[in-house]
């Protein structure tokens, strides 16, 4: 389990690097993409066990990426956003997103979401 490959997608450099560093520290294998389009390219060429994706991003946003992923790869996804509102949350759950986190969140919250999502996939 600790060698699970996780793709971190966020247009904010600090958040992307911090999340990847945290996941590496926890023993995961982390890859990074700066928006939905870059993430889609990585997902086409490699296998991932989990995607952690921001929603508001240029070129291709997190919802669009999730829609493509659901149709093509079906990799479990955790959506994160700094601008959480009830409509976005509702939309995300209706589309089948298992975990949705509003920034700012701490290590325990994100790690708990990661472990829960990976366990769900295994089951």
């Amino acid at each position: 389990m600790t060698q699970a490959r996780i793709l971190v997608v966020d247009d904010d450099l600090n958040m992307r690097e911090t999340l990847a560093m945290m996941l590496e520290m926890a023993g995961f294998n982390a890859a990074k993409a700066e928006d939905g389009l870059a993430a889609r390219e990585l997902m086409q060429s490699g296998d991932f066990d989990l995607v952690i994706s921001d929603i508001k991003m240029p070129r291709m946003n997190g919802i669009e990426l999730f829609t493509w992923n659901k149709q093509n790869k079906n990799i479990p996804t955790i959506l994160i956003t700094g601008f959480a509102d009830i409509i976005e949350t509702k939309e995300a759950f209706e589309m089948g997103v298992l975990e949705f986190l509003a920034k700012p969140f701490d290590n325990e919250e994100i790690m708990s979401a990661v472990m829960k999502t990976l366990e769900t996939k295994k089951a």
């Binding site: 904010d12 600090n14 700094g82 701490d106």
Partner: protein, 364 residues
């Protein structure tokens, strides 16, 4: 004390006695009027030039009352009024001292009444600018939350990692994490500084030389996220980084007003795009804000610059945004207009270059 900044120093015209341009037509009358020496702590009429007839730079054939309208918009007069506060002396009574005392007292009563009306109008105009700014901030609230929450989230994650690294005694990792935290904290400080500078009122600030590039950076920091959240490409193009004399807070406010309007106009359209271009043209800095929204009919364009005209519903638009932009431009001795010929919406803001002799700034 007569060592305060006089008009020839403010305008850098060189028309004072012995100045670099005084050999052309002799010194300017404002520099020579000894009866006004000391008025508003200036040398001769250097800080009361608005009551002088035939001052230089296009006013050679004008009596003071013919150019007074322009003087009320002049940044030098504004700076003297602000600097002197309650001690401000319009200066006319000195020049009219030889008149019949009865006539003079009638004239002075009329003058004071006019000044009261002028002060009220100035105050109302500033309240209007602040009200529009509050309106702009309201529209930015959502993106502001995003701006703050993302770096705050990164900080929280870093703190968690730092605890783990400390428990493991991993000095290399601790160093890496604290470096990352320092970067995030500086980023947050930048965001706070930007918002603080935007929310303060600019009216009490002196005009300063500012680079157009810096003004573009501040604007991008404030509305970049809002555009990005709406899926809109916001492109800043600087042909030449010129320096303008301005209150940067107010110029940023003009750009934010225009960009917020443009966002509403292009949102949901195909390939929505807003361009902000900066260039130098005929002694002025020119800023253009263009969007690729639907073409606005000429009739509506003509009405758009009128106060209280809005195509938005009453909840979202006051109809005063463009009026505020025009006021700010005129306070800077500049101009603000909509391009009537362009098939896209294109606003043009022209501002005098710092130290540039454009003619507009030389009203005395």
């Amino acid at each position: 004390m007569t060592d305060m900044q006089c008009c020839w120093q403010f305008q850098k015209c060189g028309c004072e006695e012995g100045g670099s341009n005084s050999h052309v037509k002799g010194p300017c009358p404002a520099a020579m009027e000894k009866r006004l020496n000391g008025t508003n702590r200036g040398k001769n009429a250097g800080r009361s030039c608005w009551v002088m007839d035939k001052t230089f730079h296009g006013n050679e054939d004008k009596a003071y009352y013919q150019k007074l309208g322009g003087c009320f918009k002049c940044p030098h007069m504004s700076s003297v009024r602000t600097g002197e506060g309650d001690r401000f002396n319009f200066g006319l009574d000195v020049l009219l001292a030889d008149l019949d005392p009865k006539m003079l007292s009638v004239a002075m009563v009329m003058y004071h009444e006019l000044m009261m009306v002028y002060n009220d109008l100035t105050q109302t105009k500033q309240q209007l600018i602040q009200a529009e700014k509050t309106n702009a901030l309201g529209k930015m609230a959502g993106s502001m939350a995003h701006e703050f929450n993302t770096p705050l989230g990164s900080l929280l994650l870093n703190i968690g990692m730092l605890n783990q690294a400390m428990e493991a005694g991993n000095a290399g990792m601790m160093k890496k994490i604290t470096t990352s935290m320092e970067g995030i904290a500086k980023h947050l400080r930048g965001i706070v500084t930007n918002f603080r500078s935007f929310t303060r009122s600019g009216i009490h600030e002196p005009m300063r030389p500012e680079k157009l590039g810096g003004i573009f950076d501040n604007t991008r920091a404030l509305v970049g996220q809002l555009a990005s959240d709406s899926g809109i490409t916001l492109e800043f193009k600087l042909q030449e980084d010129v320096e303008i004399r301005c209150r940067s807070v107010e110029i940023v406010q003009v750009l934010i007003n225009l960009i917020q309007n443009a966002i509403e106009a292009v949102k949901g359209g195909g390939n929505p795009r807003i361009e902000i271009k900066g260039s130098k043209a005929a002694g002025h800095a020119m800023i253009e804000v263009c969007d690729n929204g639907r073409e606005i009919p000429r009739g509506i364009k003509e009405q758009m610059m009128q106060p209280f005209f809005t195509t938005k519903d009453k909840e979202r638009g006051t109809g005063l945004g463009l009026t505020v932009c025009k006021n700010i431009a005129e306070n800077h001795q500049g101009s603000f207009m909509i391009d009537m010929e362009s098939s896209h919406t294109r606003f043009i803001l022209k501002l005098p270059l710092d130290g540039g002799n454009t003619g507009d700034r030389s009203q005395k």
